[in-house]
Protein backbone atom coordinates (compact mmCIF):
# COMPACT_ATOMS: atom_id res chain seq x y z
CA UNK A 1 0.00 0.00 0.00
CA UNK A 2 1.42 3.26 -1.03
CA UNK A 3 1.46 6.06 1.48
CA UNK A 4 3.15 9.06 -0.13
CA UNK A 5 0.32 9.72 -2.60
CA UNK A 6 -1.98 10.22 0.41
CA UNK A 7 -0.08 13.32 1.47
CA UNK A 8 -1.57 16.79 1.29
CA UNK A 9 0.33 19.61 -0.40
CA UNK A 10 1.26 20.99 3.04
CA UNK A 11 2.57 17.61 4.24
CA UNK A 12 4.44 16.80 1.00
CA UNK A 13 5.97 20.28 0.96
CA UNK A 14 7.29 19.90 4.52
CA UNK A 15 8.74 16.44 3.89
CA UNK A 16 10.41 17.56 0.65
CA UNK A 17 11.92 20.60 2.35
CA UNK A 18 13.23 18.49 5.24
CA UNK A 19 14.76 16.10 2.73
CA UNK A 20 12.72 13.17 4.07
CA UNK A 21 10.99 12.52 0.76
CA UNK A 22 12.15 12.73 -2.83
CA UNK A 23 10.01 14.08 -5.68
CA UNK A 24 10.76 10.92 -7.66
CA UNK A 25 9.24 8.78 -4.90
CA UNK A 26 6.16 11.00 -4.71
CA UNK A 27 5.65 10.72 -8.46
CA UNK A 28 6.30 6.97 -8.50
CA UNK A 29 3.81 6.45 -5.69
CA UNK A 30 1.12 8.41 -7.55
CA UNK A 31 1.85 6.40 -10.71
CA UNK A 32 1.45 3.15 -8.74
CA UNK A 33 -1.94 4.32 -7.48
CA UNK A 34 -3.01 5.46 -10.93
CA UNK A 35 -2.24 2.01 -12.35
CA UNK A 36 -3.82 0.19 -9.43
CA UNK A 37 -7.01 2.22 -9.82
CA UNK A 38 -7.17 2.15 -13.61
CA UNK A 39 -10.82 1.08 -13.38
CA UNK A 40 -11.76 4.44 -11.89
CA UNK A 41 -10.84 5.88 -15.30
CA UNK A 42 -9.67 9.20 -13.87
CA UNK A 43 -7.12 9.92 -16.61
CA UNK A 44 -7.17 10.28 -20.38
CA UNK A 45 -3.40 10.67 -20.60
CA UNK A 46 -0.75 9.80 -18.02
CA UNK A 47 2.50 11.64 -18.75
CA UNK A 48 4.63 9.06 -16.97
CA UNK A 49 7.96 9.69 -18.69
CA UNK A 50 7.67 13.46 -18.55
CA UNK A 51 6.63 13.38 -14.87
CA UNK A 52 9.54 11.15 -13.86
CA UNK A 53 12.01 13.35 -15.73
CA UNK A 54 10.55 16.47 -14.08
CA UNK A 55 10.78 14.79 -10.67
CA UNK A 56 14.45 13.96 -11.20
CA UNK A 57 15.09 17.56 -12.20
CA UNK A 58 13.31 18.76 -9.05
CA UNK A 59 15.37 16.47 -6.82
CA UNK A 60 18.52 17.72 -8.51
CA UNK A 61 17.51 21.35 -7.91
CA UNK A 62 17.05 20.52 -4.24
CA UNK A 63 20.35 18.63 -4.00
CA UNK A 64 22.05 21.63 -5.60
CA UNK A 65 20.56 23.84 -2.84
CA UNK A 66 18.70 26.04 -5.30
CA UNK A 67 16.02 28.33 -3.89
CA UNK A 68 12.77 26.44 -4.47
CA UNK A 69 9.06 27.23 -4.23
CA UNK A 70 6.93 25.42 -1.64
CA UNK A 71 5.37 23.23 -4.35
CA UNK A 72 8.58 22.23 -6.12
CA UNK A 73 8.46 18.47 -6.64
CA UNK A 74 4.74 18.06 -5.89
CA UNK A 75 2.78 16.05 -8.49
CA UNK A 76 -0.60 17.26 -9.76
CA UNK A 77 -3.30 16.17 -12.18
CA UNK A 78 -5.06 18.56 -14.52
CA UNK A 79 -8.38 18.48 -16.34
CA UNK A 80 -7.86 17.70 -20.01
CA UNK A 81 -9.32 21.05 -21.00
CA UNK A 82 -6.01 22.83 -20.43
CA UNK A 83 -3.40 23.01 -23.16
CA UNK A 84 -0.16 21.24 -22.26
CA UNK A 85 2.78 21.70 -24.59
CA UNK A 86 3.57 18.48 -26.48
CA UNK A 87 1.08 16.46 -24.39
CA UNK A 88 -2.21 15.29 -25.95
CA UNK A 89 -5.08 17.62 -25.04
CA UNK A 90 -8.55 16.38 -25.99
CA UNK A 91 -11.13 18.39 -23.99
CA UNK A 92 -12.71 14.92 -23.61
CA UNK A 93 -13.86 15.04 -27.22
CA UNK A 94 -13.44 13.14 -30.45
CA UNK A 95 -12.97 16.36 -32.41
CA UNK A 96 -9.69 16.94 -30.50
CA UNK A 97 -8.70 13.30 -30.03
CA UNK A 98 -5.29 13.84 -31.65
CA UNK A 99 -4.61 17.47 -30.70
CA UNK A 100 -1.13 18.18 -29.34
CA UNK A 101 -0.87 21.85 -28.32
CA UNK A 102 2.24 23.87 -29.17
CA UNK A 103 1.96 25.84 -25.91
CA UNK A 104 1.06 25.56 -22.21
CA UNK A 105 -2.01 27.11 -20.60
CA UNK A 106 -0.99 29.89 -18.19
CA UNK A 107 -2.02 27.83 -15.14
CA UNK A 108 0.21 24.98 -16.35
CA UNK A 109 3.10 27.33 -17.10
CA UNK A 110 2.83 28.87 -13.62
CA UNK A 111 2.68 25.53 -11.79
CA UNK A 112 5.51 24.05 -13.84
CA UNK A 113 7.64 27.14 -13.30
CA UNK A 114 7.10 26.72 -9.55
CA UNK A 115 8.42 23.17 -9.93
CA UNK A 116 5.14 21.27 -9.55
CA UNK A 117 4.98 18.11 -11.66
CA UNK A 118 2.22 17.46 -14.18
CA UNK A 119 1.22 13.78 -13.88
CA UNK A 120 -1.47 13.66 -16.49
CA UNK A 121 -4.72 14.87 -17.99
CA UNK A 122 -8.03 13.95 -16.42
CA UNK A 123 -11.46 12.85 -17.65
CA UNK A 124 -14.15 15.49 -18.18
CA UNK A 125 -17.51 15.94 -19.84
CA UNK A 126 -16.39 17.13 -23.26
CA UNK A 127 -15.77 20.89 -23.37
CA UNK A 128 -17.25 21.01 -19.85
CA UNK A 129 -20.69 20.01 -21.14
CA UNK A 130 -22.07 17.89 -18.34
CA UNK A 131 -22.37 17.13 -14.65
CA UNK A 132 -21.34 13.46 -14.54
CA UNK A 133 -18.41 12.82 -16.98
CA UNK A 134 -20.80 10.60 -18.94
CA UNK A 135 -20.35 13.00 -21.87
CA UNK A 136 -16.70 12.06 -22.37
CA UNK A 137 -15.37 10.44 -25.54
CA UNK A 138 -12.99 8.39 -23.38
CA UNK A 139 -15.66 7.00 -21.03
CA UNK A 140 -16.80 8.32 -17.68
CA UNK A 141 -14.74 8.37 -14.49
CA UNK A 142 -16.16 6.35 -11.57
CA UNK A 143 -16.99 7.61 -8.12
CA UNK A 144 -14.52 5.96 -5.73
CA UNK A 145 -17.19 5.80 -2.98
CA UNK A 146 -19.48 3.73 -5.23
CA UNK A 147 -18.31 2.81 -8.70
CA UNK A 148 -21.94 2.45 -9.82
CA UNK A 149 -22.27 6.20 -9.36
CA UNK A 150 -20.93 9.23 -11.22
CA UNK A 151 -18.12 11.33 -9.72
CA UNK A 152 -19.87 14.53 -10.85
CA UNK A 153 -18.70 16.78 -13.61
CA UNK A 154 -17.42 18.23 -15.61
CA UNK A 155 -14.07 18.11 -13.71
CA UNK A 156 -14.88 14.57 -12.50
CA UNK A 157 -11.52 13.00 -13.37
CA UNK A 158 -9.62 15.61 -11.36
CA UNK A 159 -11.97 15.04 -8.41
CA UNK A 160 -11.46 11.26 -8.54
CA UNK A 161 -7.68 11.71 -8.83
CA UNK A 162 -7.65 13.76 -5.60
CA UNK A 163 -10.21 11.63 -3.71
CA UNK A 164 -8.48 8.33 -4.56
CA UNK A 165 -4.97 9.69 -3.90
CA UNK A 166 -3.78 9.39 -7.50
CA UNK A 167 -2.12 12.81 -7.12
CA UNK A 168 -1.38 15.36 -4.39
CA UNK A 169 -3.64 18.05 -5.88
CA UNK A 170 -5.48 18.78 -9.10
CA UNK A 171 -6.68 21.64 -11.26
CA UNK A 172 -10.22 21.96 -12.56
CA UNK A 173 -12.39 24.44 -14.39
CA UNK A 174 -15.79 25.72 -13.17
CA UNK A 175 -18.33 27.33 -15.51
CA UNK A 176 -21.53 26.39 -13.66
CA UNK A 177 -20.34 24.03 -10.93
CA UNK A 178 -17.73 21.90 -12.69
CA UNK A 179 -15.25 22.11 -9.80
CA UNK A 180 -17.69 22.27 -6.89
CA UNK A 181 -20.17 19.53 -7.80
CA UNK A 182 -17.55 16.80 -8.43
CA UNK A 183 -15.72 17.97 -5.27
CA UNK A 184 -18.98 17.51 -3.38
CA UNK A 185 -19.61 14.07 -4.94
CA UNK A 186 -16.11 12.80 -4.00
CA UNK A 187 -15.54 14.37 -0.55
CA UNK A 188 -12.79 16.79 -1.54
CA UNK A 189 -12.24 20.55 -1.40
CA UNK A 190 -12.82 22.60 -4.57
CA UNK A 191 -12.49 26.33 -5.11
CA UNK A 192 -14.40 28.22 -7.78
CA UNK A 193 -12.53 31.53 -7.87
CA UNK A 194 -13.76 35.01 -8.67
CA UNK A 195 -14.09 35.46 -12.43
CA UNK A 196 -10.66 36.61 -13.65
CA UNK A 197 -8.75 35.65 -10.47
CA UNK A 198 -6.85 32.98 -12.44
CA UNK A 199 -5.87 33.41 -16.09
CA UNK A 200 -7.94 31.44 -18.60
CA UNK A 201 -5.20 31.57 -21.25
CA UNK A 202 -4.89 28.11 -22.79
CA UNK A 203 -8.01 26.82 -21.05
CA UNK A 204 -10.20 25.38 -23.81
CA UNK A 205 -13.24 27.63 -23.70
CA UNK A 206 -16.75 26.55 -22.78
CA UNK A 207 -18.45 29.86 -21.92
CA UNK A 208 -15.90 32.64 -21.73
CA UNK A 209 -17.79 35.06 -19.47
CA UNK A 210 -18.40 32.29 -16.90
CA UNK A 211 -15.29 30.05 -17.09
CA UNK A 212 -12.97 30.00 -14.07
CA UNK A 213 -9.83 27.99 -13.23
CA UNK A 214 -9.26 26.68 -9.72
CA UNK A 215 -7.68 24.13 -7.37
CA UNK A 216 -9.21 20.78 -6.32
CA UNK A 217 -7.48 19.60 -3.17
CA UNK A 218 -7.57 17.43 -0.06
CA UNK A 219 -7.80 20.44 2.29
CA UNK A 220 -8.55 24.18 2.30
CA UNK A 221 -4.95 24.86 3.36
CA UNK A 222 -3.81 23.17 0.12
CA UNK A 223 -6.26 25.19 -1.99
CA UNK A 224 -4.84 28.38 -0.44
CA UNK A 225 -1.26 27.44 -1.33
CA UNK A 226 -2.12 26.49 -4.90
CA UNK A 227 -4.19 29.63 -5.44
CA UNK A 228 -1.20 31.74 -4.39
CA UNK A 229 0.74 30.17 -7.24
CA UNK A 230 -1.86 30.39 -9.98
CA UNK A 231 -3.74 33.65 -9.24
CA UNK A 232 -2.94 37.02 -10.75
CA UNK A 233 -3.22 39.25 -13.75
CA UNK A 234 -2.04 37.90 -17.11
CA UNK A 235 -1.50 40.02 -20.21
CA UNK A 236 -2.64 37.06 -22.31
CA UNK A 237 -6.10 37.06 -20.66
CA UNK A 238 -7.61 40.54 -20.87
CA UNK A 239 -10.33 39.53 -18.39
CA UNK A 240 -7.87 38.55 -15.64
CA UNK A 241 -8.25 40.70 -12.52
CA UNK A 242 -5.73 43.27 -11.33
CA UNK A 243 -6.82 42.95 -7.69
CA UNK A 244 -3.86 42.13 -5.45
CA UNK A 245 -3.23 38.44 -4.82
CA UNK A 246 -3.48 37.79 -1.07
CA UNK A 247 -1.10 35.62 0.91
CA UNK A 248 -3.99 33.17 1.18
CA UNK A 249 -2.07 30.54 3.16
CA UNK A 250 -1.48 33.13 5.91
CA UNK A 251 -4.90 34.79 5.73
CA UNK A 252 -6.75 31.54 6.38
CA UNK A 253 -4.98 31.07 9.71
CA UNK A 254 -6.46 34.23 11.25
CA UNK A 255 -9.55 32.65 12.83
CA UNK A 256 -12.43 35.11 12.65
CA UNK A 257 -15.74 34.14 14.23
CA UNK A 258 -17.09 37.66 14.12
CA UNK A 259 -18.83 37.18 10.80
CA UNK A 260 -22.43 36.69 9.75
CA UNK A 261 -23.25 33.74 7.52
CA UNK A 262 -26.34 33.98 5.31
CA UNK A 263 -28.61 31.03 4.55
CA UNK A 264 -30.63 31.83 1.41
CA UNK A 265 -33.98 30.08 1.59
CA UNK A 266 -34.00 29.59 -2.20
CA UNK A 267 -30.95 27.29 -1.88
CA UNK A 268 -32.60 25.10 0.76
CA UNK A 269 -35.95 24.93 -1.07
CA UNK A 270 -37.84 22.08 -2.69
CA UNK A 271 -35.69 20.09 -5.03
CA UNK A 272 -32.98 19.74 -2.40
CA UNK A 273 -33.06 16.15 -1.14
CA UNK A 274 -33.94 16.02 2.59
CA UNK A 275 -30.79 14.01 3.45
CA UNK A 276 -28.58 16.62 1.75
CA UNK A 277 -30.32 19.43 3.59
CA UNK A 278 -29.99 17.57 6.88
CA UNK A 279 -26.22 17.17 6.54
CA UNK A 280 -25.69 20.83 5.63
CA UNK A 281 -27.94 22.07 8.45
CA UNK A 282 -26.03 19.85 10.90
CA UNK A 283 -22.85 21.63 9.78
CA UNK A 284 -24.62 24.95 10.37
CA UNK A 285 -25.47 23.84 13.92
CA UNK A 286 -21.88 22.86 14.55
CA UNK A 287 -20.70 26.30 13.41
CA UNK A 288 -23.37 28.00 15.52
CA UNK A 289 -21.98 26.24 18.59
CA UNK A 290 -18.59 27.71 17.74
CA UNK A 291 -20.10 31.18 17.96
CA UNK A 292 -20.75 32.10 14.33
CA UNK A 293 -23.80 34.27 13.59
CA UNK A 294 -26.30 33.00 11.05
CA UNK A 295 -29.01 34.90 9.27
CA UNK A 296 -31.85 33.62 7.10
CA UNK A 297 -31.92 35.59 3.86
CA UNK A 298 -33.81 35.56 0.58
CA UNK A 299 -32.45 36.19 -2.91
CA UNK A 300 -35.57 35.55 -5.03
CA UNK A 301 -33.84 35.82 -8.41
CA UNK A 302 -31.79 32.69 -7.61
CA UNK A 303 -34.82 30.63 -8.57
CA UNK A 304 -34.38 31.78 -12.15
CA UNK A 305 -30.62 31.65 -12.37
CA UNK A 306 -30.50 28.16 -13.92
CA UNK A 307 -32.23 29.42 -17.07
CA UNK A 308 -30.10 32.57 -17.14
CA UNK A 309 -26.93 30.51 -16.78
CA UNK A 310 -27.82 27.98 -19.45
CA UNK A 311 -28.88 30.51 -22.08
CA UNK A 312 -25.62 32.42 -21.68
CA UNK A 313 -23.57 29.21 -21.54
CA UNK A 314 -25.20 27.74 -24.67
CA UNK A 315 -24.77 31.01 -26.56
CA UNK A 316 -21.11 31.37 -25.66
CA UNK A 317 -20.46 27.65 -26.26
CA UNK A 318 -21.93 27.79 -29.76
CA UNK A 319 -19.71 30.76 -30.52
CA UNK A 320 -16.55 29.28 -28.95
CA UNK A 321 -17.00 25.91 -30.65
CA UNK A 322 -17.28 27.55 -34.07
CA UNK A 323 -13.48 27.36 -34.20
CA UNK A 324 -13.61 23.58 -34.70
CA UNK A 325 -13.83 23.71 -38.46
CA UNK A 326 -11.95 20.62 -39.64
CA UNK A 327 -9.31 22.85 -41.20
CA UNK A 328 -6.86 24.10 -38.61
CA UNK A 329 -6.71 21.16 -36.19
CA UNK A 330 -8.80 18.31 -34.88
CA UNK A 331 -11.04 15.72 -36.50
CA UNK A 332 -11.60 16.51 -40.17
CA UNK A 333 -13.51 15.01 -43.07
CA UNK A 334 -10.64 16.23 -45.27
CA UNK A 335 -8.51 13.40 -43.93
CA UNK A 336 -10.82 10.73 -45.31
CA UNK A 337 -11.35 12.18 -48.75
CA UNK A 338 -9.95 15.58 -49.50
CA UNK A 339 -11.55 16.00 -52.91
CA UNK A 340 -15.08 14.90 -52.05
CA UNK A 341 -16.26 17.89 -50.09
CA UNK A 342 -17.05 21.55 -50.48
CA UNK A 343 -15.91 23.93 -47.75
CA UNK A 344 -19.40 23.91 -46.19
CA UNK A 345 -19.38 20.11 -46.16
CA UNK A 346 -15.95 20.03 -44.50
CA UNK A 347 -17.33 22.15 -41.66
CA UNK A 348 -20.64 20.33 -41.32
CA UNK A 349 -19.30 16.78 -41.66
CA UNK A 350 -16.21 17.27 -39.46
CA UNK A 351 -18.31 18.83 -36.71
CA UNK A 352 -21.07 16.24 -37.01
CA UNK A 353 -18.59 13.40 -36.55
CA UNK A 354 -16.46 15.16 -33.93
CA UNK A 355 -19.00 16.42 -31.38
CA UNK A 356 -21.13 14.30 -29.03
CA UNK A 357 -24.92 14.53 -28.96
CA UNK A 358 -24.85 16.68 -25.80
CA UNK A 359 -22.33 19.09 -27.30
CA UNK A 360 -24.39 19.31 -30.51
CA UNK A 361 -27.45 19.97 -28.37
CA UNK A 362 -25.72 22.92 -26.68
CA UNK A 363 -24.43 24.27 -29.99
CA UNK A 364 -27.97 24.05 -31.42
CA UNK A 365 -29.53 25.75 -28.39
CA UNK A 366 -26.87 28.46 -28.40
CA UNK A 367 -27.21 29.10 -32.11
CA UNK A 368 -30.99 29.27 -31.70
CA UNK A 369 -30.98 31.79 -28.82
CA UNK A 370 -28.55 33.99 -30.76
CA UNK A 371 -30.43 33.75 -34.06
CA UNK A 372 -32.51 36.52 -35.61
CA UNK A 373 -35.92 36.74 -33.98
CA UNK A 374 -34.93 35.01 -30.73
CA UNK A 375 -31.92 37.09 -29.68
CA UNK A 376 -33.97 39.58 -27.64
CA UNK A 377 -36.36 37.08 -26.09
CA UNK A 378 -33.67 34.70 -24.89
CA UNK A 379 -30.12 36.04 -24.97
CA UNK A 380 -30.76 39.70 -24.17
CA UNK A 381 -33.32 38.74 -21.55
CA UNK A 382 -30.79 36.40 -19.92
CA UNK A 383 -28.18 39.19 -19.80
CA UNK A 384 -30.71 41.40 -18.00
CA UNK A 385 -31.54 38.64 -15.52
CA UNK A 386 -27.80 38.33 -15.03
CA UNK A 387 -27.83 41.94 -13.83
CA UNK A 388 -30.60 41.00 -11.39
CA UNK A 389 -28.44 38.12 -10.08
CA UNK A 390 -25.42 40.42 -9.64
CA UNK A 391 -27.65 42.93 -7.81
CA UNK A 392 -29.15 40.13 -5.71
CA UNK A 393 -25.74 39.00 -4.48
CA UNK A 394 -24.56 42.58 -3.91
CA UNK A 395 -27.60 43.25 -1.77
CA UNK A 396 -27.15 40.01 0.16
CA UNK A 397 -23.53 40.88 0.92
CA UNK A 398 -24.66 44.18 2.47
CA UNK A 399 -26.23 42.11 5.25
CA UNK A 400 -24.03 39.04 5.54
CA UNK A 401 -20.30 38.38 5.12
CA UNK A 402 -20.63 35.04 3.36
CA UNK A 403 -23.40 32.71 2.18
CA UNK A 404 -23.60 28.99 2.99
CA UNK A 405 -25.59 26.44 0.98
CA UNK A 406 -25.50 22.86 -0.28
CA UNK A 407 -23.41 22.32 -3.45
CA UNK A 408 -25.64 19.75 -5.12
CA UNK A 409 -29.35 19.31 -4.45
CA UNK A 410 -28.93 15.56 -4.85
CA UNK A 411 -26.56 12.77 -3.82
CA UNK A 412 -24.09 11.30 -6.35
CA UNK A 413 -26.39 9.56 -8.81
CA UNK A 414 -26.08 6.29 -10.71
CA UNK A 415 -24.76 6.08 -14.27
CA UNK A 416 -27.58 6.58 -16.75
CA UNK A 417 -29.96 8.02 -14.13
CA UNK A 418 -30.06 11.44 -15.80
CA UNK A 419 -30.32 10.44 -19.43
CA UNK A 420 -32.92 13.11 -20.17
CA UNK A 421 -31.01 16.39 -20.75
CA UNK A 422 -33.30 18.58 -18.66
CA UNK A 423 -32.93 16.42 -15.55
CA UNK A 424 -29.14 16.62 -15.92
CA UNK A 425 -29.34 20.43 -16.21
CA UNK A 426 -31.49 20.59 -13.06
CA UNK A 427 -28.70 18.87 -11.09
CA UNK A 428 -26.80 22.19 -11.42
CA UNK A 429 -29.47 24.34 -9.81
CA UNK A 430 -27.39 25.33 -6.74
CA UNK A 431 -24.05 25.82 -8.47
CA UNK A 432 -25.13 27.80 -11.55
CA UNK A 433 -26.28 30.98 -9.72
CA UNK A 434 -22.69 31.70 -8.71
CA UNK A 435 -20.97 32.00 -12.10
CA UNK A 436 -23.17 34.70 -13.68
CA UNK A 437 -22.32 36.92 -10.67
CA UNK A 438 -18.59 36.16 -10.95
CA UNK A 439 -18.31 35.59 -7.19
CA UNK A 440 -16.11 32.92 -5.59
CA UNK A 441 -17.43 29.77 -3.89
CA UNK A 442 -15.61 27.13 -1.88
CA UNK A 443 -16.96 23.56 -1.87
CA UNK A 444 -16.22 21.61 1.30
CA UNK A 445 -16.97 18.11 2.58
CA UNK A 446 -19.91 18.47 5.02
CA UNK A 447 -20.85 14.89 5.87
CA UNK A 448 -22.08 11.53 4.59
CA UNK A 449 -25.44 9.93 3.90
CA UNK A 450 -26.04 6.17 3.84
CA UNK A 451 -27.76 5.02 0.66
CA UNK A 452 -28.17 1.34 -0.33
CA UNK A 453 -25.80 0.64 2.57
CA UNK A 454 -23.06 2.80 1.06
CA UNK A 455 -21.83 6.06 2.57
CA UNK A 456 -22.08 8.88 0.02
CA UNK A 457 -20.48 12.31 0.44
CA UNK A 458 -22.39 15.58 0.76
CA UNK A 459 -20.75 18.94 0.19
CA UNK A 460 -21.54 22.50 1.17
CA UNK A 461 -20.38 25.73 -0.44
CA UNK A 462 -19.30 29.02 1.12
CA UNK A 463 -19.93 31.91 -1.25
CA UNK A 464 -18.33 35.34 -0.88
CA UNK A 465 -18.27 38.66 -2.70
CA UNK A 466 -15.87 39.15 -5.62
CA UNK A 467 -12.19 38.67 -4.73
CA UNK A 468 -13.02 37.53 -1.16
CA UNK A 469 -11.21 34.19 -1.54
CA UNK A 470 -9.34 34.82 1.73
CA UNK A 471 -12.57 35.28 3.64
CA UNK A 472 -14.33 32.14 2.37
CA UNK A 473 -11.20 30.01 2.75
CA UNK A 474 -10.72 31.40 6.27
CA UNK A 475 -14.12 29.99 7.25
CA UNK A 476 -13.43 26.78 5.29
CA UNK A 477 -10.11 26.32 7.07
CA UNK A 478 -11.81 26.80 10.43
CA UNK A 479 -14.48 24.25 9.47
CA UNK A 480 -11.80 21.68 8.64
CA UNK A 481 -10.18 22.33 12.04
CA UNK A 482 -13.38 21.35 13.89
CA UNK A 483 -14.67 18.69 11.49
CA UNK A 484 -12.99 15.52 10.24
CA UNK A 485 -15.18 14.70 7.22
CA UNK A 486 -12.52 15.80 4.75
CA UNK A 487 -10.13 13.20 6.18
CA UNK A 488 -12.45 10.31 5.27
CA UNK A 489 -11.14 8.32 2.28
CA UNK A 490 -12.90 5.90 -0.07
CA UNK A 491 -12.26 2.20 0.51
CA UNK A 492 -10.34 1.07 -2.53
Amino acid sequence: MSTLAKLTVVEASNLLQKGEVKAVDLVKDCLVNIKKNKDLNAFITVAEKEALAAAKASDKRRADKKELSNIDGIPYAIKDSFCTKNVLTTAGSKILDDFVPPYDAEVVAKLNKAGAIMLGKTILDQFGHGSSTENCHFGPAKNPYDVQRVPGGSSGGSAVAVAADLCIFAIGEDTGGSIRQPASFTNITGLKVTYGRVSRYGSIAYASSLDTVGPMTKTVADAAIILEHIAGVDAKDATSGKTKVDKYSQEILKANKDITIGLPKEMFAKGVEPEVKEVVLAAVEKLKKEGFNFKDISVPVLEHSLACYYIIAWAEASSNLARYDGIHYGHSSLKQNEKAHTLYEVYAKSRAAGFSTETKRRIMLGTYVLSAGYFDAYYKKALKVRTAIVNGFNKAFENVDVILAPVSPILPFKFGAKSDPLSMYLADILTTPINPAGVPSLALPAGFVKKDNIDLPVGMQIIGSQFSESKIMNLGYFWQSIDETHKIKPKL
Binding site: F99, T194, S318, H341, A348
Partner: protein
Protein backbone atom coordinates in the same frame (compact mmCIF):
# COMPACT_ATOMS: atom_id res chain seq x y z
CA UNK B 1 -41.83 33.93 -26.37
CA UNK B 2 -44.04 31.76 -28.54
CA UNK B 3 -46.52 29.37 -26.98
CA UNK B 4 -46.52 25.62 -27.36
CA UNK B 5 -43.80 23.69 -29.11
CA UNK B 6 -41.00 26.12 -29.78
CA UNK B 7 -39.19 24.48 -32.65
CA UNK B 8 -40.47 22.84 -35.81
CA UNK B 9 -38.45 20.33 -37.82
CA UNK B 10 -37.76 23.15 -40.27
CA UNK B 11 -36.45 25.37 -37.47
CA UNK B 12 -34.08 22.62 -36.35
CA UNK B 13 -32.78 22.17 -39.91
CA UNK B 14 -32.28 25.92 -40.23
CA UNK B 15 -30.39 26.19 -36.92
CA UNK B 16 -28.25 23.16 -37.84
CA UNK B 17 -27.28 24.89 -41.05
CA UNK B 18 -26.36 28.09 -39.19
CA UNK B 19 -24.31 25.99 -36.75
CA UNK B 20 -22.58 24.08 -39.57
CA UNK B 21 -23.71 20.71 -38.21
CA UNK B 22 -24.77 17.91 -40.55
CA UNK B 23 -27.47 16.19 -38.50
CA UNK B 24 -28.94 12.77 -39.27
CA UNK B 25 -32.71 12.38 -39.68
CA UNK B 26 -32.78 10.69 -36.28
CA UNK B 27 -30.94 13.62 -34.67
CA UNK B 28 -33.25 16.14 -36.31
CA UNK B 29 -36.31 14.42 -34.92
CA UNK B 30 -34.69 13.94 -31.51
CA UNK B 31 -33.72 17.62 -31.29
CA UNK B 32 -37.12 18.82 -32.52
CA UNK B 33 -38.82 17.43 -29.41
CA UNK B 34 -35.91 17.77 -26.98
CA UNK B 35 -34.88 21.35 -27.66
CA UNK B 36 -38.45 22.58 -27.28
CA UNK B 37 -38.78 20.98 -23.87
CA UNK B 38 -35.40 22.31 -22.74
CA UNK B 39 -36.34 25.80 -23.92
CA UNK B 40 -39.50 25.61 -21.80
CA UNK B 41 -37.16 25.79 -18.81
CA UNK B 42 -35.88 29.12 -20.17
CA UNK B 43 -39.39 30.58 -19.87
CA UNK B 44 -38.69 30.88 -16.15
CA UNK B 45 -36.90 34.12 -17.05
CA UNK B 46 -40.25 35.73 -17.82
CA UNK B 47 -40.89 35.77 -14.07
CA UNK B 48 -38.14 38.34 -13.56
CA UNK B 49 -39.05 41.99 -14.12
CA UNK B 50 -36.15 43.32 -16.17
CA UNK B 51 -37.84 46.49 -17.46
CA UNK B 52 -35.42 48.72 -15.52
CA UNK B 53 -32.30 46.60 -15.95
CA UNK B 54 -29.38 46.92 -18.34
CA UNK B 55 -27.65 43.86 -19.74
CA UNK B 56 -24.54 42.44 -18.04
CA UNK B 57 -21.96 40.71 -20.22
CA UNK B 58 -18.94 41.18 -17.99
CA UNK B 59 -18.96 41.15 -14.20
CA UNK B 60 -15.72 42.48 -12.72
CA UNK B 61 -15.83 45.98 -14.16
CA UNK B 62 -12.84 45.85 -16.49
CA UNK B 63 -12.91 47.87 -19.68
CA UNK B 64 -10.53 48.58 -22.54
CA UNK B 65 -7.65 46.42 -21.38
CA UNK B 66 -4.70 47.19 -23.63
CA UNK B 67 -1.07 46.21 -23.92
CA UNK B 68 1.92 47.57 -25.80
CA UNK B 69 1.73 46.91 -29.53
CA UNK B 70 4.92 44.95 -29.74
CA UNK B 71 5.77 41.56 -31.12
CA UNK B 72 6.02 38.78 -28.58
CA UNK B 73 6.94 35.13 -28.80
CA UNK B 74 4.76 33.56 -31.46
CA UNK B 75 4.24 30.14 -32.98
CA UNK B 76 6.54 29.14 -35.82
CA UNK B 77 4.97 28.17 -39.11
CA UNK B 78 5.80 24.54 -38.34
CA UNK B 79 4.14 24.70 -34.91
CA UNK B 80 1.04 26.38 -36.30
CA UNK B 81 0.65 23.70 -38.97
CA UNK B 82 1.55 20.75 -36.76
CA UNK B 83 -2.08 19.80 -36.11
CA UNK B 84 -3.44 20.64 -39.58
CA UNK B 85 -5.48 17.78 -41.10
CA UNK B 86 -4.18 18.65 -44.56
CA UNK B 87 -1.38 21.06 -45.40
CA UNK B 88 0.49 22.23 -48.43
CA UNK B 89 3.98 23.52 -47.75
CA UNK B 90 3.56 26.50 -45.49
CA UNK B 91 -0.25 26.62 -45.80
CA UNK B 92 -3.47 25.01 -44.58
CA UNK B 93 -5.16 23.29 -47.52
CA UNK B 94 -8.87 23.93 -47.98
CA UNK B 95 -11.37 23.03 -50.71
CA UNK B 96 -11.93 25.59 -53.45
CA UNK B 97 -14.04 28.43 -52.08
CA UNK B 98 -14.98 30.33 -55.26
Amino acid sequence: MKDGSKLSKKDVEHVAELARLELSEAEISQFTTELSSVLDMADSLNNVDTSKLEETAHVTGLSNVTRKDKKEKQLTNKEALANAPVKDGRFFRVPKVL
